[in-house]
């Protein structure tokens, strides 16, 4: 029975291996409705695999993944209808115009013509793409491509947002709109998972932070909880992250490079 109190995401004992390589090791994670969770970790720590398991794109070797109360393995199409996804690099159909691409998105997510039209126009104006929406995406800057990918993820009113480096390439105004939008959506019960390497963004935007390392969940909690776990009162997320992931001692590396 799915209720408003059902967590948006529940990962129970999830393990994913590729042959001998363990990508994710016994991950337990519960994310509530309206939360903005920052998923942090060095390259190869298992963040992307975790997100793909949430999308139903990768089947876990062990454990279960439940999204909005639905089993990700059993009903991936049903789940996808409620998810908005922005990949790390916006590999979108560059031979389409932004309007055509968003029209395609609307059709795939089953939006009605009027709603589709209205939502596209609202987002195009909000992200400052008006005047260029009829141009081929190939001619866009990276930031404009990113905006198009974000609009595509948001336009169908998803209940869960999975965003991989969502602010990359955005101009300050669009980045601010995006941040405010995520907070507003959060207050309406939309859950957001942000995977990012920009720790300032995670610290400023996220209600909780999850730090992964070598496929394991090292720490999970609010900033205060993380400071306590790392025994670093008053520290910023960068120092906590470096300490927890054991990558903090970078001075010798810098000194070697300066020689």
């Amino acid at each position: 029975m799915v209720t408003e109190n059902t967590p948006a995401i529940r990962l129970s004992g999830v393990r994913k291996t590729y042959g001998d390589i363990v990508a994710v090791e016994h991950l337990d994670l519960v994310v509530g409705r309206g939360e903005i969770l920052g998923l942090l970790g060095p390259n190869g720590s298992g963040k992307s695999t975790t997100i793909k398991m949430m999308m139903g794109l990768v089947k876990p070797t062990e454990g279960s993944v439940s999204i909005l109360g639905m089993d990700a393995g059993k009903d991936p199409i049903g789940i996808k209808k409620h998810i908005g996804y922005v990949p790390e690099s916006p590999r979108i159909y560059e031979f389409l115009t932004a309007l055509e691409f968003l029209d395609l998105t609307g059709d795939l997510y089953g939006m009605g013509p009027e709603e589709k039209k209205q939502r596209i126009q609202e987002f195009i104006e909000a992200f400052g793409l008006e005047g260029r929406e009829g141009d081929i995406i190939n001619s866009y800057s990276d930031g404009m491509k990113q905006k198009t990918a974000i609009i595509s993820a948001l336009m169908h009113r998803p209940q869960l947002l999975l965003l991989d480096e969502p602010l990359r390439g955005l101009d300050p105004k669009s980045a601010k709109i995006m941040k405010d939008l995520l907070h507003e959506l959060s207050s309406q019960g939309v859950t957001t998972i942000i995977s990012t390497h920009t720790l300032e963004i995670a610290q400023a935007m996220c209600t909780r932070i999850a730090i992964m390392y070598n496929g394991k969940l090292l720490a999970l909690g609010t900033m205060d909880q993380l400071r306590t776990a790392a025994a670093m009162p008053g520290s910023g997320l960068e120092d906590i992250f470096l300490k927890l992931t054991g990558t903090g001692d970078i001075r010798p590396v810098v000194e070697a490079l300066m020689k």
Partner: protein, 559 residues
């Protein structure tokens, strides 16, 4: 202009040119001996050919025969510079076409301290590497080898120089031509909006028709071309490209002043070509993403596809694929196959092989009609089928993360190729009917069988396209693994045979009946259509199931 920079850049550009033909672009490591072995082979072949001809000359005892051979060799030397311009132009043009689908950037890196002169010289130099250089080295070695026993060494040395000068002229011309094309297409694409999409589509088809017609014409009359060059280049003295050849002619006739004058003029012309190429490159050389403005008015509508019973998601993907195939330059090759199939048969047919009345005889006309109605559409269906899924490339994540069922995904891909290829079958069927004049029964049979085959072969090739999809996009989109392309060809051929079998059987029985003075009830032809349709449907259904299964695995295995 730094020669060192030119040589370094030329090495980079030629290496990039070689890389695009390799399968594993990222892990590809070049073995230097392999690169140069081909040129060593050209030297060996040239020496063998030239030496052999020289030996033939020395063992010829008859004086008049020796004189004839001598004249033939001199005449051949004189044609070589002009001939080398022709094959260099062709080779560099083919190399340019090959690079149109390359995603990896092979263009000047504008932030490097490289002048446009250096870039142009390097680019022109690198475009001669490969086929054109291979042929030239082989010819030059043969020329030197044959000149020693014949006593033509001075003329041979000049011929070699003239060949390389002509090659330079050809590659510089192509360099300038490429910049002009970039300028024109850029201007067209930037200014004509929605029409640009269609202009690009039709220009692509037209270009390939012209190239292939030219290719087949040249292929069937190479001797005529060489003969024409020998006879024609003197009378075409006003064309600078033939000046090296005429210089050789004047040298052979001991007209020294003319030789010097034409040699100097040839060099001046090559320098002028270089200057023009540099100027054009500096103006238009940098690749700039065209800004095509398709529509500023947003009009969501139901559309014809929805009315045909397709779901909004399916018709959205069909529309997207149609746009892809009219806008993505690397997908143009899909349209080549039917054009080649038509050109390969009909160009020689038009140039010869006609009856005395100028038309095709009855049975020949029927054969060519069936060929025209069936083969181009089925070939396109097969090419589309194997490339439709792979052409998604790195963007497959979008469909994989969309709430799109695998069935809808497969159906959308299938109906896209089915709609396009059925239209093509009907078009070629109607054109063939008016051109070749088959009987109404044969005309209808051709179209019916073509449509059945489009559906059956399309489903077969689509399942191969899903099973063997190759999403690598660098250096150029692969779309399908080679082994699956071959498997698809074999399976489509078997499908074709199975589907056509009832009609072929009917035709054989009818022919035998006619020969023995009897006749076969015409209704059996309609029965043959029905059996064909049932076979096509059965094959299509089996491969539809396979496609669904393969596509499910593909989506789930997306890493």
């Amino acid at each position: 202009m730094s020669l060192s920079n030119v040589l370094k850049l030329a090495r980079v550009y030629s290496r990039a040119g070689r890389l695009i033909s390799k399968n594993n672009f990222r892990k590809y490591r070049e073995k230097r001996w392999e690169v140069y072995a081909i040129y060593a082979l050209a030297v060996a072949l040239g020496a063998l050919g030239g030496g052999g001809f020289g030996y033939l000359y020395t063992i010829t005892g008859d004086a008049s025969a020796r004189q004839m051979l001598y004249q033939a060799i001199v005449g051949f030397f004189i044609t070589l510079p002009t001939l080398s311009i022709l094959y260099s132009l062709f080779m560099t043009m083919m190399s340019q076409i090959r690079q149109t689908g390359v995603k990896a950037q092979i263009q000047p890196l504008y932030w490097f301290p490289v002048t446009w002169e250096e870039h142009t010289a390097a680019s022109a130099l690198s475009s001669t590497f490969g086929g054109a250089l291979w042929i030239s080295i082989m010819i030059c070695t043969a020329v030197i080898a044959v000149s020693i026993p014949t006593g033509l060494l001075p003329l041979a040395m000049l011929t070699v120089l003239a060949i390389f000068l002509s090659m330079a002229m050809a590659s510089l011309t192509m360099e300038a031509f490429r910049a002009v094309l970039a300028a024109i297409s850029g201007a067209v694409l930037k200014s004509t909006g929605k029409a640009a999409v269609w202009i690009r589509f039709f220009v692509a088809i037209l270009s390939f028709i012209i190239i292939y017609v030219a290719y087949f014409t040249a292929y069937t009359s190479t001797v005529v071309v060489i003969d024409a060059i020998g006879k024609g280049q003197i009378s075409a003295w006003f064309i600078p490209y033939v000046w090296p050849g005429i210089a050789l002619y004047t040298f052979s006739k001991s007209m020294w002043l003319y030789t010097v004058l034409l040699a100097v003029l040839s060099i001046i012309f090559a320098v002028a070509l270089f200057a023009a190429a540099v100027r054009l490159n500096s103006r238009y050389g940098l690749a700039d993403a065209p800004t095509i403005s398709v529509s500023r008015i947003y009009k969501p509508n139901e559309g014809l596809l929805n009315k045909l019973g397709l779901s909004p998601a399916e018709s959205a993907i069909i529309k997207k694929d149609f746009r892809a195939f009219t806008r993505r330059s690397e997908l143009r090759y899909v349209f080549i196959m039917p054009i080649v199939l038509v050109a390969a048969v009909f160009v020689p047919l038009i140039t010869g092989n006609k009856t005395s009345s100028g038309g095709l005889s009855g049975s020949m006309g029927t054969f060519y009609y069936i060929y025209l109605a069936i083969l181009p559409a089925v070939a396109m269906s097969m090419t589309l089928g194997i490339s439709l899924v792979g052409s998604e490339g790195e963007r497959l994540w979008f469909l994989a993360t969309s709430p799109l069922t695998v069935k809808k995904f497969v159906r959308a891909k299938f109906f896209f190729q089915a709609i396009l290829c059925t239209a093509m079958a009907l078009l070629f069927g109607v054109i063939g009917y008016f051109l070749l004049g088959p009987t109404a029964r044969y005309a209808a049979t051709g179209i019916v069988e073509a449509v059945i085959l489009v559906f059956a072969a399309g489903m077969v090739s689509l399942s191969c396209g899903i099973a063997g999809a190759d999403f690598r996009e660098l250096p150029r989109p692969r779309m399908i693994r080679t082994e699956w392309s071959l498997i698809s060809t074999v399976l489509v051929a078997i499908t074709g045979l199975c589907v056509l079998l009832p009609v072929l059987a009917y035709d054989a029985i009818a022919t035998m009946g006619l020969l023995s003075g009897g006749s076969v009830n015409g209704a059996f032809l309609y029965l043959a259509w029905l059996v064909s349709g049932a076979i096509g449907l059965g094959i299509g259904y089996i491969f539809y199931g396979i496609s669904i299964s393969k596509a499910s695995k593909l989506m789930m295995g997306l890493e």
